[in-house]
């Protein structure tokens, strides 16, 4: 093979590898076998923020004051001190709860514990790990270099970096199961689910929660349903309430590969500020590209071999030219 042919061949293969289609994306990951999760039913949430207070108590985080007002927690959004927050969404003049027009609703924001988590995929140093059995996404501060790629890779803007501390770290909900706390391992619920007085935040296995969510989808608006509280598999108590007009959509069943925290609502999810996600996780595509280019470093090795050969030849030729 002469040089021109080799060049053409190696450039061709490199271009083919970079071209769309040649790199096959992997499938979305599947839910962990015994995945735990939560079901947040926005129509049950009364905005009492008991879950916010309990979360801070359990995770030993200070309340967020509003100016000088310190008698309650005024957290507006997720932050290094707030792993779980209740936000209010209004539309028009907020008169009727859970009405898509002239209505308002409460929405919970916390880590969704994605089935195919962006943060886990993009972290260069394995500081974010999805537990293989429970599906909980945990954080390892000793591994973290603070590059904040996880924040760019999270579709929900969940991980929060503590910029105000020179030795700060990343903060996110770990399902109250981080080292030293391990509430789930001890058979307890997450703090927020335990504290919720209406069952708006319900704990359980992803499977059982998904079944409960589907049951609610099938109910007729106006009929009375006995809502469970605590753990969906062994409820601490129940309360009866008329069924609202649910959106026929279980957020997290499929979004970007699904999440272990599922949401129900009477208001369309985009109005509640949920991100525009398809069923495919973005990281299944980026990992496909990444592995297409670098699997076993085969392509780089071949290209390096070709380049070395070319460079050496060209340098030797030049030197011969110089000597003549």
């Amino acid at each position: 093979m002469n040089r021109r042919d080799f060049l053409r061949a190696s450039l061709g293969s490199a271009a083919a590898a970079l071209a769309p289609g040649a790199v096959s994306a992997r499938e979305n990951l599947s839910p962990a076998p015994q995945a735990v999760g939560m079901l947040f039913d926005s129509t049950l949430c009364v905005g009492c923020k008991a879950c916010v207070a309990k979360c801070k108590e359990v995770n030993q985080m200070p309340p967020t004051p509003l100016g000088d007002e310190v008698y309650a927690d005024f957290a507006q959004d997720l932050s290094p001190q707030t792993h779980n927050v209740i936000k209010v969404f209004r539309n028009g003049s907020p008169q009727t709860k859970d009405s898509p027009t002239d209505g308002f609703a409460f929405e919970k924001r916390s880590c969704m514990h994605c089935v195919d988590p962006g943060c886990v995929s993009v972290c260069p140093v394995t500081a974010l790990v999805k537990h293989p059995v429970t599906g909980i996404v945990n954080y390892d501060a000793d591994a973290c270099i603070g590059c904040r790629t996880c924040m760019t890779g999270c579709p929900y803007n969940v991980p929060q970096f503590d910029y105000d501390n020179p030795f700060g770290l990343l903060h996110k909900c770990e399902f109250c199961n981080q080292k030293g706390l391990e509430r789930i391992d001890q058979g307890l619920l997450t703090g927020c689910a335990e504290a919720c007085p209406t069952g708006a935040t319900l704990f359980g296995s992803r499977e059982a929660l998904l079944a409960e969510a589907k049951r609610r989808m099938a109910l007729t608006p106006g009929e009375i349903y006995n809502y469970p509280m605590g753990d969906v598999r062994a409820p601490a108590s129940h309360h009866e309430k008329a069924v609202p007009k649910y959106q026929q959509h279980i957020w997290g069943e499929r979004e970007a590969g699904g999440t272990n925290v599922l949401h129900l609502s009477a208001i369309p999810f985009d109005q509640l500020g949920m991100p525009p996600l398809g069923e495919r996780s973005y990281v299944s595509i980026s990992e496909g590209v990444q592995h297409g280019l670098y699997s076993y470093m085969a392509l780089p090795a071949v290209v390096l071999g070709g380049l070395t050969w070319l460079v050496k030849r060209n340098i030797d030729e030049d030197q011969e030219g110089d000597e003549q």
Partner: protein
Amino acid sequence: MSQYQPLQRRILTLPFAFLGLLALIGLYFLIERFVNGMGAVTNLNGGFPWGIWVVYDIVVGTALACGGYALAVTVYVFNKGQYHPLIRPALLASLLGYGLGGLGAIIDMGRWWQFYNLFLPWQMNFNSVMLEVGLCVSAYILVLLIEFLPTVLQKYNAETWLKRLNKVLFFVIALGVLLPTMHQSSLGTMLIAMGWKVHPLWQTLHLQPLLAVLTAFTMGFAIVMFEASLSAVGFRRDPETQLLSGLGRIMVGLIAFYLLIRFGEILLRGKFGLLFAADLASLMFLLETALFAYPVLVLRSASARNSPRALLYGAVSLLLAGALYRFNAFLITLDPGPGYSYFPALPELMVTIGLVAIEIMVFLFVIKTFPVLPRDHKGPASHG
């Protein structure tokens, strides 16, 4: 004697002192960052974890530092030996640019004292595009140091070492072509994982790596033309117009190819309407495209490519185009959702400006004391 020579001029000049002042201001805020945390000097937040320190110092900065890469490909892979005289200043600028990128990465790391985890095999996450970027950039800085070593050895007349180095240099050069190809494409892949936050006009999914490499490559040629034209004007040296016009021709071809892919993607994926949305993104896209198109229009004809002025303008336009492409994708049109906005704080800007000032100061110092620039054939600088 060597075909390169130090530019024998005074080092301490007025511009040099001004750069020094900027560097000091930057260093002051840098100290504040390490004492009081990043929040004290930056406007970073939960939706915009990456500000100008990442986007300028690393994403744009390393692309601006691709001169050494573009020339190495031209000279050693495509065997265009005539461009050899341009290679040392290009390598020096690359070394400094990538050095700045590496430094910027450390400064921006929230937990910088644990940075070595990036190099521990049991900590590595091989799914992570960021890992690939981190390792490749680190390796490439080492490669650039070795590639620049002959200049240093030559200054101190270390002939034996120079001969030894020359025996293995071909492999280092080959690595120096491979590594930037790898990590520049990965900078593009990063945008895929950022998903819906990246504006549809810049979210090209599988095409990201290709577009990133192409822009890096064109910017590499542009920076070589820019540097050569500037040092010709600034130090009243021979303009290397003949060489540069050749590079101009390669550049025009590459940009045309890039624009074809860019617009093809937009048309095929049905995003054409977004161009006329008359919002910030559509405006930015038009500006970016105009900056890319300008060098193609100006440098189309051979006669235009022989005008040093046209070459300089074309190069500047392309540098701005490539930089804006990356700024747009990573920052300006990025939308992490309601409630989040970002504009760099003044101290944050000053850190970046200070780092660039230091980079230019080191560049000036080195070309005045080391044999980096090609030997001038006329002009006052031709010492023996």
